[in-house]
Structures are given as C-alpha cells and as structure tokens.
Symmetry: C2
Subunit: 176 residues, 2 copies
Amino acid sequence: MALTKTAIVEAAQGILEEYGLADLSMRRVADSLGVQAGALYYHVPNKQTLLAEIADRILADLREVATLPEWAADLRRVLLGHRDGAELVVTTRAMGLGTVDPTGPARALVPAGPGDHVLRTFEHFVLGATLHDQTRAQLVGIGLLAGFDLEEADEAFRSGVDILTRGVGIFIAPVA
Amino acid sequence: MALTKTAIVEAAQGILEEYGLADLSMRRVADSLGVQAGALYYHVPNKQTLLAEIADRILADLREVATLPEWAADLRRVLLGHRDGAELVVTTRAMGLGTVDPTGPARALVPAGPGDHVLRTFEHFVLGATLHDQTRAQLVGIGLLAGFDLEEADEAFRSGVDILTRGVGIFIAPVA
DNA sequence: ACCTGAACACCGTTCAAGT
DNA sequence: ACCTGAACACCGTTCAAGT
C-alpha cells in the first residue's frame, strides 16, 4: 500500500510509545514502514511538524470537564498516559505548532476576557509540573534515579491546583 | 595551558550564549578550545553533566528577595537573561542534575513544612511560563514566528503570580 | 507522483595509541 | 596523566535518478 501521512504519524507514535522521544528518528520511522528516510519528506515537511501531529493526537484524549481543577487533573492524566507526552506537548506548544489547544475543554468554564490569564497560568503550571514529574518517573523506571514517588508528586500537584484556585493563603500566611 | 573542567564549562557557556543550545555540541566546544572532542571526556563525564554545570552558573545570578512575587520575577529575569536559559534549567531540574535549587532564595520566606508545596508550585509555574515565552521570543528573533510580544507575556506572567498568591478569585468568580 | 540511493554535514561517546 | 586520531553507531534533510 502507498505511504500516507496518517500511516507515517501512526508509525511515529508507535515508536514514541515503545522506545521514547529520544529514539524516535526519521530513519526509524521509515524503517518501520519499510521505506527509505527520504520518502517521508514527500508527505511530511519535517520532523517537528510530525511531532506536532502526534501532540495533537495525544491532546485529542482530553475529556469534557465541569471545573478547572478537574480539567487540570485531566490534562495531567493525558500527558502521563503517553510516553514523553509532557515533553512533546510542551515543545510543540512553545514553538506554536500543533492545532489543539490543551485549554480547550476549560474555555467554557471561565469568562472570555480575564479568564484567559487564568487558563494560561493553569496551563503553564500543569505542563511544568507534569514535565518534571514524568521525566523523573521515567528516569526511575530506567533505574537512573531513586527517591522519587509519583504518588507524592500527584499529591503535590493537587496542592498546586488548590493554591492556584484559592491562593497561597491556604498553605501559608498571605504574602505581600 | 592545560585543559581544565572550568575552561570547558566556560567555553560551553560561551557557545550557548552565542549560538544557542541546539548548536552546542561537544565537538564545537572542543574546537573552540583547540582540542579533539574526546579530550573533553577526561574532564567531564558526559554532555548532560556539562549542561548541568552551566545551569548552576546561570542560577548563581539569583538575587536575595523579600517576597515570593519578587523571587518569581527574579528567577524569570535570570532565565531570560541567558540564551535558552529556561530550557536548560528545566531539563537539568527534571533530570535531578545540577546542585543549585532555584527556590533557594525563597526558602526563608515560607514555613518549612507546608511552604514546600507553595515553592514547588511557584517553581513549576515560573519555569513553565518562562520556557514557553523564551522559546517564542527566540523564534520571533529568528523570524520564524510572528504575533508574540514579550511585554504582553511579562504582563501575563505577573497576573499568573497574582493568581498563585491570591487565587483565581481575583480574576474570575471563585470556582468549585 | 512517489520512492530509492546516496550523499552532505553533522552528532555523543569510546578507546588504542602516543607523549 | 592527558590528549590525538580514528572509529562506532548514529542523526535530519536534500536531491538526482529511476519508475
């Protein structure tokens, strides 16, 4: 069968889930499809856009939610559900690639104008915290890091969401 | 003069500031020092630890501060002050490398126990937001992205810090 | 139109051999 | 002890040539 963009994206995602982002090369994707690396460039402009396409597929797992904390937890769930999901989405978002905005399901929960700052703040926290925790969790899995517990990190994440929601005053005396 | 670890770290940082993280290769560092790439490995175990050493140097610019929002602004200032500073520090922190904790100057501002969650939450937000903004600012500089304004991003950052400090209630009606 | 084969210009890391 | 030279096992991307 002929090579298609969809087949390439799916093959790339398969390699990502199985071997991780560091081992996801254009040559490996081509190999798994039984073609030469150069052939990919007839269907995909470059590696970055291919990765952005995978990021879009990952973010498609996002569910509808009723509250901001629920949305934060769901975004974290989706990112942790895919190998190197946080790193992929962080990079894609930072470069302005990808078409799926992770704050999408939360848009309806805040007023259009001032709610924007709230959504961006939540997004940066969720991506920052989850990138940190997922990287560490994966290092523990390879035996390159010890003393990190994802359950504890989940607990800290929920505290972070509480702080964003109610302010630091819930944990410490209000600051100037 | 003989090659030293310090000379290698300084040369690497020089290349980072001038050409960026993507162009910072062991071979380039070696070239700039007039040695072969393999020679570096007698003084530095690998590239990651070399990068961690640069991250430590960058975080050494952190000032003493009196409040949490002031510390957040200072960390952002330091990261934006070095090319790819945010990416470098995010990666180094996630992998548990580097010896300088960016929350250091803020430790004295919060109580020992519950203050920890507050610090980590602030750290993840500052790193997440600044990584995002610095990447976009640098893409604008190369002409690969338009419609991003760092002044606006700074403003959004300050709003984010306000939300962390006082809760989302200052921007929108309190959420469940 | 679509793909191969081969090349260009690189990587991080290792290691025998020299000094 | 410290460095060179050369290798190993790769990269992303381009492009003439074939079908």
